[in-house]
Symmetry: C2
């Protein structure tokens, strides 16, 4: 019952025991471990060590561990095994959703081979069904295993049928009620079953208020629905309302976590899903694309600035505030776009018309821009900068903050309408664009004010 | 069974019906709605309209809607109600965890008043217990309602006791098994109960492999445990192992979502939890603090640059690349810190020693820095910049990328060790710091190379 914590000592011990081929002691160590913990140990081992350990596990545990591995490790591991072993020892012992996920990672020839070795034909059929759903839809998240009863049955018939059905299902959260055509009618709670007499009919006690999604609904909407209604399981129906599967919260939690990490990384300029433990090469590959965009943007910016060379040479004080103006444009742009990206993702845009949204964003931008411009003005006034510089910095600050706010707000909306992930707008892209345009506005204003005042 | 979508038309209709005081039609509209949907409608109404609608709901629905409201709206609503109504109509009908959450939002005098009006003394006691746990611990997330049976009972006794217990619990996911002292021993699955004969003893069929947490464990660890082991419910025990409550996945999903949003917003320079639908004033307040830091940083940067005024006046081309170098420092710093922040949050730091981490980060930084410096060098060479500028830009690029990578990696680790949220390190803070130090390094190098070459 104690919680497991992976220690370096344990890993050292296990590697040593593998080296000694001490199967008895290793089996003993693994016996009481949770598959998720064994998966953590696996990720610290070489492929040869992992294979040795794998064949000490009983079949159900082996299948569970395989599901818990990171995708890269799982693929490496499966590559080293014949299709028949994959089918019999692993896929055949998984829930249909996990089985479909694992098979989807294999290449097509291998998929067919593995499926052909499955002994349970109806399971193979389920997997093929699941593979047909588009990625990121309810169909791709769901499992086929569930417990259903007919509305015309009584409690005794239900219990008899459920006894048979539970052998295939790990956790029973809900019993679904369907009509003779398999159309979902509602749910039957354990509570109601416990509180009713055995000859009560299902149709008299089931709860018809059930929230369901169609198999082609996007995963993001599935997440929002389960989150909003605090659901643990969500039934999935086909286009004519027949119950085809159910999505459990753990799959949705995984999806949520991945999406949140992806958005966070995009906002930080990382283009690939990486973790601290990944290889140096993978880290470099994930980071360099955006650094290249930044470099290109900065070099383009240097061309913009070079157009004002004479001005800078004559008034080098103009250069003092260049990084400030560039940075403020980037900062304001990121803030505005981050809020839009989150609102789009959570479906919380509200009912404001585009005009109202514009009006609101203009108000926020005006407040921020005025405050920052005023401070920049006061600062330059206080340190005794001449009027031309003071006016340049303050008016550039105002323009840049206004522009970046509006741009940061509407770019995500535009991308979203064009069906491009709006998270792309935060971070890299918007910062660079605002940097360059900010520089340009600043130097134009400087040219003007220095002309007027000096 | 259809899914609900809030439309502007529906809201207009409801407002009109409220205006007409058409209680019959309104009740009819609300009757089949999910509390979460009603809560969405509420947030579009004025406080007077909301109150009118509220008293048309039956008590259980009213309590559920209250839980679903955003905190601000809930507080505004509760302020307008007497303590007795809050206790009888709302708190008394909630699960203990929701009740404690709502009460915790009230000020202390009001808390006592509401608790004194509760008719169910044992519930009041449960709420007081829950209020005593620190925020962000397992204790603060858990509910007291659960179903437990003793290991010495047989199935018949279990069922009899469960029939009584389920009246207080909404959803039954697990039946917990305890000994005579209330110490958690394991779980009893519905599956096992269905498959065993009625005189079987609990002790012979329960599953002793149950993962539990102590009430003082941090919420982040709770999240990681439930995520890792794919749990829907997690039992909570006290220091001597007695079962005191259970945490359900929906509470953890809410916590996860909030944390992910907080990290994302921090990384984007937003200091308060805001949504697109919040007021202009709240948006400004959430954004301005970091803009002030950015402004202060930029002004400090302008002082650094002004120390090199003579150099810039003589060689204005030095200014062309200032924004590029500043931006690269910021970009690289954000990337490195974002990866560390995520690794710390997910507990996935691995077993590398600090020395190994340093070595790895140095390798990644070296690759990125060399590539970027080489490109900057080639660019300047290609456009025919003189050697002094070419060397300055390339060597500054190299230094800034190296420094920002290492700083971005180790600042989050340092903050984490000092028990400060490492997410603070991404975004604002690190960008500004890297901007300024990058400027300084660049101008020092410029001074040196222009001295050497010209």
């Amino acid at each position: 019952m104690a919680n497991f914590e992976l220690t370096r000592e344990l890993i050292e011990e296990i590697r040593w025991l593998i080296d000694q081929k001490d199967e008895a002691l290793l089996s003993d160590i693994l016996k009481d471990m949770h598959p998720a913990d064994i998966a953590e140990i696996y990720e610290e081992l070489s492929i040869e060590e992992a294979k040795f350990l794998y064949f000490l596990l009983d079949d159900d545990t082996a299948a569970d561990v395989l599901i818990e591995l990171e995708e890269d490790d799982r693929l490496r591991f499966l590559k080293a095994l014949p299709s028949e072993v994959i089918a019999r020892r692993f896929i055949g012992r998984m829930d249909s959703d996990d089985a479909a996920d694992v098979i989807a990672e294999l290449d097509e020839d291998r998929q067919k081979e593995v499926l052909s070795y499955l002994e349970d034909i109806s399971m193979a059929g389920d997997i093929v069904d699941l593979l047909n759903y588009d990625e990121d839809t309810a169909g791709s998240l769901m499992a086929k295993e569930l417990i259903k009863v007919k509305e015309s049955w009584n409690i005794v018939t239900c219990l008899r049928s459920m006894r048979r059905q539970v052998e295939e299902v790990d956790d029973v959260y809900f019993v679904y009620v369907v009509d003779n055509d398999g159309v979902l009618k509602g749910t039957l709670s354990l509570k109601k079953m416990l509180l009713s007499s055995t000859d009560t009919l299902v149709r008299d006690i089931y709860n018809p208020d059930v929230i369901a999604v169609s198999a082609d609904v996007h995963s993001e909407e599935v997440t929002n629905i389960m989150d909003k209604y605090d659901l643990v399981v969500l039934p999935v129906i086909d286009s004519i309302g027949r119950l085809v599967g159910r999505i459990t919260i753990d799959d949705v939690v995984d999806y949520m976590r991945e999406e949140a990490e992806k958005d966070y990384q995009l906002a930080s300029g990382i283009t690939e899903d990486v973790e601290a433990s990944d290889s140096v090469w993978r880290h470099t590959r994930a980071r360099i694309p955006w650094l290249m965009i930044g470099l290109a943007g900065g070099l383009l910016g240097s061309r913009v600035i070079s157009a004002f060379e004479g001005n800078i040479s004559e008034h080098p004080e103009v250069a003092f505030f260049m990084p400030l103006i560039a940075a403020m444009g980037g900062n304001v742009g990121i803030q505005s776009s981050a809020i839009m990206v989150q609102s789009i993702a959570s479906g919380g845009l509200g009912f404001d018309t585009n005009f109202k949204k514009l009006l609101k964003e203009v108000s926020i931008a005006l407040l921020n821009a005025s405050a920052l411009a005023a401070l920049a003005f006061i600062y330059n006034f206080a340190i005794g900068s001449h009027f031309a510089l003071t006016f340049t910095v303050a008016s550039a600050m105002f323009s840049v903050v206004m522009f970046a706010s509006l741009f940061g707000t509407f770019l995500p909306l535009l991308l979203n309408r064009m069906k491009i992930d709006p998270a792309l707008a935060t971070g890299p892209f918007i910062t660079t664009l605002n940097d360059i345009s900010g520089m340009f506005v600043y130097l134009i204003l400087a040219a003007y004010f220095f002309e007027v005042f000096l």
